[in-house]
Structures are given as C-alpha cells and as structure tokens.
C-alpha cells in the first residue's frame, strides 16, 4: 500500500510534468499507459463490518488482475464507513477533493449528478450501450438523470418476502403466500398464535414501494414529471390500505410507524415473534451467525394486480468530473462489468448486476435464486436529487394514515403534491 502510494506520487509528478511539457490543459489522450502511469483512487464501503472478504477480493485478486491487464494504471481503494460516506463525499466535493471513482449508494447518483460533479458515462464511454444492456433494467435506471446515465450498476440487491417454517405451520400453510389475498389470509390465520403476521421497519420508499408496485399502482408517471394521480391512484391506495387494515387489526406491529424500541425484523423473524418480513440477501449471513438453527424461507413478494414487483437496492460506480484520469478510470469501470469481477464479488456476498450470471450466482448459494428472479422485474425508486426527501414525505404523511387519523387517499394525495414540488426541481 505504502509502495503504491509512493509510486503514485512519482506517477502523478511524472504525469504533471508530461502535461506541462505537452502544453495540454486537459487530460492527455493516452492517459494511463506505460509511458504515462497514473494512480486512480476508488472510495467504497466494501471493508465495513470487520469482514474483510470483499475488500480482500478487491485488493488481492481483482485490482492486481486489472493492473496486470493495464500496466500504467494503479488503483488505490480506500474504505470509508458507509454511514459517513455521503458526508465525506459532500465535504470533499465542496473542497474539490473528490476521488476518481466512488461506489455510490443509488440515491446519491442523481444528487451528485445534479451538483455537476459526475461524468455522464453515456456520453463519454463509447461502449456504454452494450455495457448497460447487460445489466438489470431496474439497477441501470438508478443512474439515469435528465436523460443521461451518470454511472453503471456495480452490485445490486432487492427485497423479497422471508418467512419461517414455524410461521407457516402456525398459519396452516405449506407454502409462503404468493398473492395479496393469501397474504391477508395468512394474517388472519395467525390471530391468536402469538405470531404477528408481518413486520417492517418504516414507511419510506424502500418499505412501501414493493406493495404499491405489486398492487398495480405507481409512485409517478414514467417520465418522473408528476406523482399526483399516480401515487394516489386507486390501485396505489388499495395496496397501502391493505397494510393499514392489517395494522389496525394488530397484524403489523408499530415498528412500521417508527417505534424504535420494537423488536427488529432481524430479531423478530427467527424468534417467532414475526411471521414474515421483507429483507435483503445480507440477512443470510446475519442469521447464520446469531441464529444458526434458523432456516429462512425466501419467496417472491406477494403478487397483487401488478404482479410481484420489488424495489432495487445496491450500489453504482460513478466517475467524478474532477478526476484527472478519466480514461483510466473508465477502463476500471469497464473492468467492473466483466464476468470475472462480478463473479468474484458474488463469491464474497455481493449480488451481480447481470441477469446472465444469475445461474452461476445461484451455484454459489441457493437462496440467491429468489432474489435474482425478483430482480428481473424490480424497479428503481425515484432517481431525483430529492430522493431522501421522498422518504421523509412518505413517512410523515403515511404515519397518520396508519394511526387512523387520516384516510389513505388523503395521505397519499398530500404526499403526491409535495413530491410534485420536488419533481419540478424545487427543494
């Protein structure tokens, strides 16, 4: 690490001398070749959590492989705590000290694109069309902002319905509920068993979108111009109403309306407190550690009038506009879209963004198949700079609806009008 930092300094020095000598003021055309060695920095959260398998895969296998194929380009990966990465990026952006590449949370891409600090890859990468076709459409859509794509999916995930044998048996079922009706029936069947049918941790877009979409509703129109008429459409209202009714009959605990003291979903399902949750692939690792005897049962989100549609999560890789090594960085982005990179990261617990690799992914671990299937139809949350405000709006407006003080239609209409303001470009 130290050595490559030294080499990096020498490289940067050499590059700047070359720049001055050639009289160019922009990045040289042959950036990152053996004559013009460069070092690119890559910030991410791979190493978070004390489990170094992902960071090791990157540092010990993938980056050396890339550097071998591209002599003259050195990649330095810097691990940053995930919860603080946005703050660090924002401050660095203000001080013009951004790295070359970032493994960015989906919601940050439109935000930073709007600030103007990201390079529109759909414009600058000649093979962008091919690369983008190979990824899940929902994951790709998270990079779209004002008609241009500002990143490529790096890894993805989604939420599926997870339940337990104990809950199914108590409800007298052999298979997880596949439709809204079965879901409601399961809740009724669990009355009196001491198991609460379904739990979720909030009312933001991540929580409520799968239900709205599966119910045949929508958050906005396709062009992201208006939410009014879509968020409060009859189908959207019906989907949320289903949850509100279950909440009222005690089948959904107040964890969903913000009780931070309620038993968490990760605790509640294995302990038999909850009958079902929506969660992501990372739970497998958590449960195998703390609740080794628990065997989760994964199933698609119960289907409503819109089918079984879930919400896309994951990270995108973005290139900062201030990077002095655009070409070299783009080479690395291309590298992250190769089978080798994707499969290597699958082995460490990341899900691939390529549907074509889903079979190989399932060979690594069975349970991925449910997630891969769900990803085929999973949709992206609103890719707008104000995405985090959307979560706050939804939580704030829907909580009274769950508490019964406001009708679901009114709550969704109120939320829709506020979201419309965001869509118009307001703050």
């Amino acid at each position: 690490m130290k050595r490559s930092a030294q080499l990096g300094t020498i490289a940067a020095l050499a590059a700047s001398i070359a720049l001055v000598a050639s009289g160019c003021s922009s990045a040289p055309a042959t950036d990152g070749t053996a004559d013009n060695p460069v070092t690119i920095t890559f910030w991410g959260a791979y190493g978070n959590g004390g489990n170094s398998t992902q960071q090791d895969a990157l540092n010990k296998t993938l980056i050396p492989e890339f550097e071998k194929e591209n002599p003259g380009i050195k990649v330095t990966y810097v691990d940053v705590p995930y919860d603080d990465l946005l703050q660090k990026l924002t401050t660095s952006a203000a001080g013009d000290e951004l790295p070359d590449l970032v493994r960015a949370d989906l919601g940050w891409v439109p935000q930073f694109a709007d600030l103007g600090v990201l390079t529109p890859l759909s414009d600058t990468m000649s093979d962008f069309a091919d690369l983008s076709k190979a990824t899940y459409p929902g994951s790709l859509a998270t990079n779209l902002y004002k008609g241009k794509y500002y990143g490529l999916p790096l890894d993805t995930n989604t939420r599926v319905y997870i339940t337990s044998k104990a809950a199914l048996t108590a409800a007298g079922m052999t298979k997880p509920p596949a439709t809204f009706d079965e879901f409601i029936a399961m809740a009724k069947a669990l009355h009196g068993t001491g198991i609460t049918a379904f739990a979720d941790g909030g009312l933001g877009a991540w929580n409520i979108s799968p239900w709205i979409w599966s119910g045949g509703g929508a958050i906005t129109d396709d062009k992201l111009t208006t939410a009014m008429g879509y968020l409060d459409s009859p189908k959207s209202v019906a989907a949320v109403q289903m949850l509100v009714d279950l909440y009222k009959s005690g089948d959904i605990p107040n964890l969903i309306t913000g009780n931070a003291g309620a038993t968490s979903t990760s605790d509640g399902l294995p302990k038999g407190v909850y009958g079902g949750i929506l969660d992501g692939p990372w739970m497998q690792g958590v449960w195998s550690g703390q609740y080794a005897d628990f065997k989760p049962i994964y199933a698609p989100v119960p289907a409503g009038a819109g089918g079984s549609v879930s919400v896309v999560g994951g990270e995108d890789i973005v290139l900062t506009a201030s990077s002095k090594h655009q070409q070299a960085a783009e080479k690395f982005i291309r590298f992250t879209q190769t089978d080798q990179f994707q499969l290597e990261m699958v082995k460490t617990g990341q899900m691939t963004v390529m549907p074509a690799l889903a079979d190989q992914e399932t060979k690594v671990a069975d349970f991925y198949s449910t997630f891969a299937g769900q990803l085929k139809t999973a949709k992206s949350r609103l890719a707008i700079p104000g995405a985090s405000k959307v979560d706050t709006i939804l939580s704030t407006e829907l909580t009274p609806a769950f508490n019964g003080t406001v009708s679901v239609k009114d709550a969704l209409s109120k939320a829709a009008s506020q979201i419309d303001e965001l869509l118009k470009g307001g703050k």
Partner: protein
C-alpha cells in the same frame, strides 16, 4: 484502631450503589465483547457470555494496521493536548491576572467558539485546511483539535487562576519576577487540579474525535482509531461484539491518562506559599 463511623459506611454504601448504576451498561458492553458474533443484543440480557470467546479481541487487534491507527491517535491526542493546555493556560492567565483593552470582548469572542455546532464548520474548515496544505495529514488534525479546544480550556482555567490569591503574584513581583516566570513558576503549579482536568478532557476529546478525522484523512495509513472502530460497523448489519471489543481496547489509554492525572486533584491549592 479507629472506630468505623456510621457516616463512613453510609458514604461507601451510597458510592457503591451509584457506581453500580454507572457501570452496569459498561459491564454489559464488556460481556458482549466476549460473545461470538453478537449481531443483536439478546433479550433477556445475558451478562455472562456463554459460550465466551476471545475472537472479537483477536480480530480487532489483528486487523491490518490496528496498531498503527492506535499510534496515530496517540500521537495526535498527546501533541494536541500538550499544545492546547499550554496555549489555553497562557490565555487564561492573561485573562485572570491582567486588565487590558479588549479583554472581555476577546473572552466573549472565545465563547462564540463554544456555542457554534462543529458540524456546520466542517466545510469551511475543510477548504481552509486545503488552502493551508493540511489535508490528509496528522498535523491537520492537531491544528484543528487544538483550535477547537481552546475556548473550553481557557474558560475552565480562567476561573481557577482567578482563585489563586493575588498576594502570591504580588510577592513574586516584588522579588522581580516577570510575567512569564510568575505564570510558569507560580500559577501553573498551583493550578494543577485545573490543568489535570483540562488534560484529561482534552485528551479524551482528541482521542475520540471522529468527524474531522474521517473528513480530511484519506490515506489509510494516517487513519485514527475512532474511524477504524466505525469501520467495524457493517453496511447492512454490525457485529456488536466486535465493535465493543475494539471500543474497549480504545478506552484503555484514556483510563490510563485519567488515573495518572487524577491524583493531582488531591493536592492542596496553597501548599504553604502564604503564611498568616
């Protein structure tokens, strides 16, 4: 042999109960640090880990460069504390002993530094640090840690310096001592309790500081301990046993500093300097 007073027994009883309340959460933290893969804190609480394991400590200590992060934090905290104590005690002495134009205005301006939330200064300070070429350096941490602690330390020490009897100063003045001598030979030794307090607090603040260190340090080799411990928190879930173990390792120097300096609390203020 002295009779044991009932008041003494009562005193110790009260202290013991109080101490028990104070350390119970801490004890639970210690206990959880010996539990394997504690992703969640169990209910009902399990104070005795079963099975108990040292894995968390081993993992924390053998994390790449953990010793280096420890050392970085130690250097930064020690240097920052020393400089801060020096500068702020000088300021406090001036405020306590001299009357000069602008004195109270300057003191009130120092107070402003206390009331502004540090988070809002982070971007202007980042840009400033960049202009001063302090980015990605331990020196950048020291400069801003010292600056940030001056207001509190000066405020605290001014009160203590003011309660040193003026006669002692005047006695030295008559003997021909200049201001620096009086400060260094008289005020500082007499204000040992205050200086010990300030040392303990400043060391703790610098040792634990997270946001600024996260923001300006990019080179993993210059990372400090709080950031390293935060990295033990996962993106989707966290092994709290591991985080607790690392936090406990990190708490040791602070306790040591406390134990070393807290004995100065028992030294008398006027150890025979003024008679009558």
């Amino acid at each position: 042999m002295s009779r044991i007073q009932p008041s003494t027994v009562l005193r110790y009883a009260a202290l013991t109960v109080g101490a028990a309340i104070m350390i119970t959460p801490f004890l639970y933290m210690v206990s959880t640090s010996f539990k394997p893969q504690a992703f969640v804190l169990s209910n009902p609480p399990q104070f005795i880990p079963n099975p108990a394991t040292l894995d968390n400590y081993v993992q924390a200590l053998t994390t790449q460069n953990f010793g280096l992060y420890f050392l970085n934090s130690l250097i930064v905290a020690a240097v920052s504390t020393a400089l801060s104590v020096l500068f702020s005690s000088m300021m406090a002495y001036a405020f306590a002993r001299f009357a000069f134009p602008g004195k109270e205005i300057i003191f009130r301006v120092l107070l402003i530094g206390l009331v502004v939330p540090a988070m809002m200064l982070i971007i202007p300070q980042f840009i400033l640090a960049k202009q001063l070429h302090l980015l990605d350096s331990l020196a950048g941490l020291v400069v801003f840690y010292v600056a940030g602690s001056l207001a509190l330390n000066t405020f605290l020490m001014r009160g203590f310096f003011e309660s040193i009897p003026a006669e002692l100063d005047q006695a030295m003045q008559v003997d021909g001592a200049n201001a620096w001598t009086r400060y260094w030979r008289l005020a500082v030794p007499l204000a040992k309790p205050a200086i010990a307090t300030v040392t303990i607090f400043t060391f703790l603040a610098c040792w634990d500081e997270f946001a600024w260190s996260l923001t300006i340090i990019n080179d993993p080799l210059k990372r400090t301990l709080p950031v390293a411990i935060q990295l033990f928190q996962g993106q989707h879930s966290t092994q709290w046993g591991l985080v607790f173990a690392a936090s406990l390792i990190a708490v040791i120097p602070v306790i040591i500093v406390f134990l070393v300096f807290q004995r100065y609390f028992v030294q008398g203020l006027t150890s025979g300097a003024v008679k009558g």
